[in-house]
């Protein structure tokens, strides 16, 4: 089995001449969790988005490895998942339609029964044919987790992972982070004190 690794080298990002973060260097290996923390506006979400390839870095680079090979482009997309408040699912589609669309486009094919079973595991049993627009924010968050884990990612990025979740949802996220740490790399951006404990490595922004 290929071991996953992320190498961040001299990563910087600025908006309109204002540095959001500068010269970040870190190496994270499979089995580790990197916690990014810092006050509001310190660039936690921006760093996650740069790492996920949603924003271009001002300087520096982020490299992803599976074994000895660097993965990028579609290969990286197949192995990377991001759960964030800024990433929405399609409100006009049902939960099953969302999962079906998002998994098919990433070359993962599931039967309706498999997806329905996964929905039950995430506390959304029987809601597969409901429009996502009718879901509460907590239910949407659960569905985002389900979508993120469907492709069994090697790199799981979580932005404020327990936002909008009830007690049971928080427990579910706790289980997800612990189980993902075994087979993948988890990077999470948070201000919650309890979530700092997940990290083998911590990156403090805004200092």
């Amino acid at each position: 089995m290929s071991i996953a690794q992320i190498k961040i080298s001299g990563l910087s990002k600025s908006f309109d001449g204002r540095d959001v973060f500068a010269d970040i260097t870190e190496v994270v290996s499979q089995g580790e969790c990197l916690v990014i923390t810092g006050p509001n506006g310190s660039g936690k979400t921006t760093l996650l988005r740069v790492m996920a390839g949603l924003l271009r870095a001002g300087a520096g680079s982020v490299e992803y490895f599976l074994g000895d090979s660097v993965i990028q482009g579609q290969g990286l997309k197949r192995n990377l998942s991001l759960v964030s408040q800024d990433l929405a699912l399609y409100d006009e589609l049902t939960a099953l339609e969302n999962l079906h669309f998002l998994s098919r486009i990433q070359d993962c094919h599931f039967s309706k029964e498999e997806l329905a079973q996964r929905l039950s595991q995430f506390g959304l049993g029987g809601r597969g044919n409901d429009l996502v627009g009718s879901f509460s924010s907590g239910m949407k968050q659960r569905l985002k987790y389900l979508h993120a884990l469907l492709k069994e990612p090697k790199f799981l990025f979580l932005d404020e992972p327990t936002a909008n979740l009830d007690e049971e949802g928080v427990r579910l996220v706790d289980e997800i982070i612990k189980s993902q740490k075994r087979d993948a790399i988890v990077v999470l951006a948070t201000n919650e004190r309890s979530e700092l404990n997940y990290g083998e490595k911590t990156l403090q922004l805004g200092l």
């Binding site: 997309k77 006009e92 998002l102 486009i105």
Partner: protein, 227 residues
């Protein structure tokens, strides 16, 4: 779970069916297109219909209606993704070219739906007699494909801007001008009832425009789409 690599075309089809399903449920773009097209067509007909306009003016009027309706509706496909915050989700899962293909197919379907409504209405209201329908539909299909190809790329560019409507019109005009002029000329010939071969050079220009626009879009879309 079964991991099976799919082709670019299949992924484009997935995006198209997602957009189509979504559009059929909320009619976000279709209503804007149809309302604009029908009201403009009827209003112009009431205002100048009794003057018996010539073929040149009729052709220009037809394409003005199609062009401005396209401007009001075709940009919605990307703007909606931005407004509903699904754009990052899409960026994370799909390749830029599959997104372009999916959105292009959706815009073509939207434009053809619009034309299914406005072409019969136009012929009914404007009293075009003896038109060469083969030439007319040849020009209509090629020009519509070119229009959709160009507006899909422009829509992706403007979806990130603050003043989307104004920028879309400003960017579209110079890019679409050659297409519009050729389409108007070809349509005028068809309204005059000229033989098919008389509009052959217009059809060739429209086909070339379409090919150039699709190839350029596939090459540029990655840069437009990232960030």
């Amino acid at each position: 779970m079964e991991r099976k690599p799919s082709s670019l075309v299949y992924k484009g089809w997935c995006i198209f069916s997602k957009d189509l399903k979504s559009e059929l449920r909320n009619r976000y773009a279709l209503n804007a297109l149809l309302m604009f097209a029908v009201t403009t067509l009827v209003a112009v007909n009431f205002a100048v219909g009794q003057f018996g306009l010539g073929e040149k003016l009729l052709a220009a009027l037809f394409w003005i209606v199609v062009f401005f309706s396209a401007l009001s509706g075709l940009a919605q496909t990307f703007i909606k993704e931005e407004e509903t915050k699904t754009v990052s989700t899409l960026k994370l899962v799909a390749s830029p070219n599959s997104i372009y293909l999916g959105k292009l197919t959706f815009n073509i379907a939207l434009l053809f739906t619009l034309e299914v409504v406005i072409v019969p209405l136009f012929f009914l209201l404007s009293n075009v007699g003896g038109a060469n329908l083969l030439l007319f539909f040849g020009v209509l299909i090629l020009a519509s494909l070119g229009l959709a190809a160009a507006t899909t790329l422009i829509a992706a560019i403007v979806s990130k801007a603050a003043v989307k409507g104004a920028l879309f019109a400003a960017l579209s005009f110079p890019i679409l001008l050659p297409l519009l002029v050729t389409a108007i000329r070809g349509t005028e010939l068809s309204f005059r009832g000229e033989v098919f071969m008389s509009g052959f050079s217009e059809l060739k220009i429209l086909l070339s425009y379409l090919v150039v626009m699709i190839v350029a879009s596939l090459m540029l879309f990655d840069f437009v789409w990232s960030e």
